[in-house]
């Protein structure tokens, strides 16, 4: 026998190296894919201990395929994490399948590909981030002067606190409204309802003041100007404060003088200012009287709140307008935000707030506001409270998606009062499914829901061609939340606590027919 030549020896070596790397496994199948034999690197492929799983995985590769005479599938990861190049040969008696280990090769390729994909994804994210940064920079520049004054921690804390008040306040005001409207209360119950309203109003004022205080002093404050009904405003003040004044045995009156019919102001802000001023006046007047005068001077609207209270020493006249009663005597009786917020709100309405006071004799706060250009139709002003809704909203269907059971039930009652048939859901997915099936005229969706957000429900509904109106409710009132809700598909956005009048207006606007 002759020794093999050098070329043959090398070939034999290469063959041995390749076999060692490839760890081939040979599977012989019959024409109907019954396994006839399995041999080769059995242990390497765990074909001894996971025999059936491996054979099934190989069969799966040929599902739906009539294999050619020979062929190959590269870089296949089979169930169980085995990575192979799969080759096959077809003969008269069946199919031979060969698995060659491709793990090292695939892992090496994966490293490179991972780097390249991550770089590309990072580059895309970088591009988006740069865009976002540009927008943020622009916004920061616009607000720079205001932000310097802000205390970020206090701001965030107060804003969060106030937001947390809003959902329960919505429920309190809503149910209160229903009780007042539906019951025929006796004297004691009337007293109790008024006390509840007074307490809730106080909390509402406090939370609105906290929120306003927590908000940076926005340069572009958007006024919500409506034609204002001063009789209603005066009545609201009387309802709110008369019981409190009577408890302290104070004379309390609200008068109106010479006011034109078309006086246009930011009603909510005016009310907030007057609530703050009257609340302060009653708090610091142990005996005597508190009077409110609302009048038109011929040039401006004036609200004058006078009291015969303890008064303010001249040294503290400026300090009272600083938050948290900084340096002011008797400052511990309230949160100390009312006057600073009132001053800010009056300035936002392009007006001024003046103070005269004599210690021991009393104080006078004078608010002067210009008549503003109206931005909304008179019909949209806040005088709808108590009007029956059935006259203008009958026969529609509404779907409420809210996880708070109190709010859900409240919305049901209000919407039924407005003439809707109402269905209730808790989650975004449930709401979406129900809305697709029900095709309601109106969907009211809370943004913060368990699991997916309310915006997902709006988006999916619009993505499925839903053409009904969508009204989004949120505990947050920032422009970003509003933009997000509208971008997802909502027609309108309401921040909590939703006042009944505001809710009715929004529902009417959402469902009004052209």
């Amino acid at each position: 026998m002759t020794e093999p030549g050098p070329a043959a020896r090398l070939e034999s070596h290469v063959f041995a190296v390749l076999l060692e790397r490839a760890q081939p496994l040979y599977l012989q199948f019959s024409s109907d894919w019954g396994l006839k034999s399995l041999h080769g690197a059995v242990a390497h492929w765990r074909a001894d201990i996971e025999h059936d799983q491996l054979v099934d995985a190989v069969r799966d590769l040929f599902l739906g395929v009539n294999p050619d005479v020979s062929g190959e599938l590269s870089s296949v990861e089979l169930a169980g994490g085995r990575i192979a190049h799969v080759h096959w040969l077809r003969g008269d008696e069946g199919i031979d399948v060969i698995l060659l280990d491709a793990r090292a090769e695939v892992e090496q390729q994966q490293l490179k590909q991972q780097e390249s994909h991550e770089a590309e994804l990072a580059s895309m994210e970088r591009g988006k981030s740069i865009d976002r940064l540009r927008r943020v920079k622009h916004e920061l520049e616009r607000r720079q002067s205001q932000l310097e004054e802000a205390n970020a921690l206090k701001t965030a804390f107060l804003a969060t606190l106030s937001h947390e008040f809003r959902t329960p306040l919505t429920a309190i005001f809503g149910y209160l409204h229903l009780l007042e409207k539906r019951l025929q209360p006796d004297v004691e119950s009337q007293f109790a309802l008024r006390a509840i309203r007074r307490g809730a109003t106080h909390l509402f004022g406090l939370s609105e003041n906290l929120l306003e205080y927590g908000r940076p002093e926005a340069g572009e404050y958007r006024l919500n100007v409506v034609r204002i009904d001063l009789n209603l405003l005066a009545e609201d003040l009387r309802i709110m404060f008369l019981p409190l004044a009577e408890e302290q045995q104070l004379d309390f009156s609200v008068r109106i003088e010479a006011v034109p019919l078309d006086l246009c102001l930011d009603e909510i802000r005016v009310k907030q200012v007057l609530i703050n001023l009257v609340s302060n006046a009653i708090r610091y007047t142990p005996r005597g009287q508190v009077t409110v005068l609302l009048r038109w001077t011929g040039k401006d609207f004036e609200a004058i709140v006078r009291d015969s209270g303890i008064g303010i020493p001249s040294a503290f006249m400026d300090s009272v307008f600083k938050p948290f009663n900084q340096g002011v005597p008797h400052g511990s009786r309230g949160a100390g935000l009312g006057l600073s917020i009132s001053k800010r709100l009056v300035e936002q309405m392009h007006g001024e707030l003046q103070l005269k006071s004599n210690p021991g004799e009393g104080s006078e706060f004078r608010v002067r506001l210009p008549n503003l250009v109206i931005g909304r139709s008179p019909a949209a002003s806040g005088s709808l409270l108590g009007e029956p809704g059935r006259q203008w909203l009958d026969g529609g269907t509404a779907l409420v998606i809210d996880d708070d059971p109190d709010i859900r039930e409240l919305l049901r009652l209000l919407l039924e009062d407005l003439g809707f048939g109402v269905e209730l859901c808790v989650t975004a997915n449930e709401g979406f499914e129900r809305a697709i099936a029900l095709k309601p005229d109106l969907v009211i969706v809370d943004l913060r829901l368990p699991g997916l957000s309310g915006n997902v429900a709006s988006f999916k509904l619009r993505a499925h061609g839903f053409t009904g109106r969508i009204l989004a409710l949120s505990g947050a009132s920032d422009p970003e939340s509003r933009r997000g809700a509208i971008a997802a598909g909502a027609d309108q956005f309401l921040a909590k606590p939703v006042q009944i009048e505001e809710f009715v207006r929004a529902v009417r606007a959402a469902t009004s027919r052209p």
Binding site: D56, A57, D60, L61, F62, L63, G64, V65, E72, L73, S74, S75, V76, E77, L78, A79, I83, A102, V106, Q109, Q110, Q113, Q114, H117, E118, E120, L121, M124, N429, G451, L452, S453, N455, V456, F459, K460, L461, R462, A463, H464, G465, G484, A488, G489
Partner: protein, 167 residues
């Protein structure tokens, strides 16, 4: 043992979440870490339904915006296609639709569904609802989240039912 078995392929740009969708559907697992797929990963799942047990053999093909020769070899024998896009990257929807067009030219009447993934990141979506509303007129579309699982089972079940209906 399933009497009914079909091969389906997932196609879509890289990073849209194909592997995560399969992980969620087959094993009910999810990993935040992105791991690119090389070649193809083949998995399977058996599902019981009123008509018996069906088996889906799922080919999760490495992400590309167009089919190359290698990916074409993986498609052979497929009865269904799952085209996957990432809602936060609008161009991936165009890639998915292009891949659908290419794959349809290689296969005989495959059943198709489009999955727009990452619904959990809705606030970062670039794809508009009106786009999906239009698309839905020609092909079933599912908004999904491999992270939360929303829409995943429904999308696979829809495709499986469509395949059973075709038999």
């Amino acid at each position: 043992m399933s009497e009914f078995a079909r091969k389906i392929c997932l196609l879509g740009d890289f990073g849209v979440g194909k592997t995560s969708l399969v992980g969620r559907y087959v094993r009910n697992t999810f990993s935040e870490k992105y791991l690119t797929t090389v070649g193809v990963k083949v998995d399977s799942k058996e599902v019981a339904h009123a008509g018996g047990v069906s088996k889906l053999v799922i080919w999760d093909i490495a992400g590309k915006s167009a089919l190359d020769h290698l990916n074409q070899t993986y498609l052979r024998g497929a009865s269904g296609l799952m085209l996957v896009a990432d809602g936060t990257r609008e161009p991936t929807l165009r890639s998915a639709l292009y891949l659908m067009m290419q794959a349809k030219s290689l296969l005989q009447d495959p059943a198709c569904v489009v999955l727009v993934n990452k619904i959990d990141l809705i606030d970062r979506w670039e794809i508009l609802p009106s786009t999906l509303n239009e698309l839905r007129k020609t092909v079933p579309v599912f908004e999904t989240s491999a992270l939360s699982g929303d829409g995943v089972e429904a999308a696979f079940e829809h495709l499986a039912a469509e395949l059973r209906r075709q038999t």
